[in-house]
Subunit: 206 residues, 2 copies
DNA sequence: TCCTAGGTAAAACGAGCGTTTGAATGCTAC
DNA sequence: GTAGCATTCAAACGCTCGTTTTACCTAGGA
């Protein structure tokens, strides 16, 4: 069992991620979370202070690593001067794809992310903006450089559409049923290709 | 006040829509809803039977009309044989745009729709599929006819991406701050143009 | 060995939840 | 007028919520 190998904090974070993905932040109770994590109810408030803080930490645990990978992939893409939109989109999507495939419930996290997108929760938005806004700024600048003919407002619009499409599509990976004989991993990689092709064409639209 | 002109049922539906958009289905309580609607708490269970049923009725009230308009617009688009992807996309988007602009809180409803999209609530999905699945089927067929070179799987993927992008973008209309001197209506119409252009390019991607 | 600090445990707190009840209303038809 | 029905109302139901309290356990340093 998880109980043996992971600390109480880690088990709470893992269980919270799963339940937030399935039931939402308001819909999942701390009693459900602590029962799934096999820890005492009071452990959440002891280790995290409050439910809202737990929610933030669920994001921080994944996003620190995810956004580091994204920036790293962006840097590599920018080194090669011949790299096009597809490479920038890949630098954004591929780390999320890797995360969603890894052991330990990364797949649940992308669904949590989609929920956060749909929620217009101000506290959560501020937390995300404060901690990860700089990543979006860097991608925005990179796209602006590759799409010099697009005026700022148009680029803003299109990137917003792209972000929404990506977030939704990532969260829905499990829903579009894959053909038999296609592994989960092949399915996800194919999804990423489709996403990138679609988004690149949309960004290049006249 | 609303209290004068609308029935108890209508006031409950309106208040529920607003609060579901802001707080989510689990996050908004019947006490908040009935207080905002200026009706007695028990009125919800009297008129709707349960909270879950109220949620369904919030959808039905808007979607009956919205999807009727969409099918009507689709029929008109299909009459003109020279109509392209943009017209089909317009038939899908414009009615939603009109709804989001109307008096009486249609703007809140598109955000409720985005929440429903992010929720993978099985009961809600079944309700939507049962009641409005035929609309999506008709649009799917229309797109398939205009994109004969795309194989079925690829079209499936792309329409899924389009639906996600549209849903999120519609819900986010209020978030992208508009330039000064641009009316709310102009802002939304411009948004629809951007969406259609982006989606059409994405669908046509090689 | 005792002490201490960090962690866990069970139990309870008050508040709010969805739902139900039963009496009080208002309205329509006779 | 009054009977009958639909609606509204205040109150309460049992339950679950996030949080707090208090006691207990168990290393590790003095």
């Amino acid at each position: 069992m998880n109980s043996q190998h992971f600390s109480t904090k880690e088990r709470i974070l893992g269980a919270a991620e799963q339940l937030f993905a399935r039931l939402g932040f308001a819909g999942a109770s701390l009693r459900q979370v602590t029962a799934a994590a096999n820890v005492n109810l009071a452990a959440v408030n002891y280790h995290f202070g409050s439910k809202e803080n737990l929610i933030n930490e669920v994001f921080r645990r994944r996003l620190d690593e995810l956004n580091a990978h994204r920036l790293q992939a962006l840097d590599e893409a920018l080194k090669k001067p011949e790299s096009g939109l597809e490479h920038l989109l890949g630098a954004f999507i591929q780390p999320a794809l890797d995360l969603s495939q890894d052991r330990g419930g990364g797949g649940a996290f992308v669904r949590v992310l989609a929920r956060a997108y749909a929620e217009h929760n101000d506290a959560l938005r501020k937390f995300l903006s404060d901690n990860y806004g700089h990543v979006m700024k860097r991608f925005h600048a990179a796209f602006a450089q590759r799409l010099p003919d697009l005026d700022k407002e148009e680029l803003y619009w299109r990137l917003d559409i792209v972000a929404g499409a990506l977030t939704y599509a990532m969260a829905d990976f499990g829903v579009i049923k894959r053909k038999t004989g296609v592994t989960e991993q092949q399915h996800r990689e194919r999804a990423a290709e489709h996403l990138i092709r679609f988004a690149a064409a949309g960004l290049r639209a006249p």
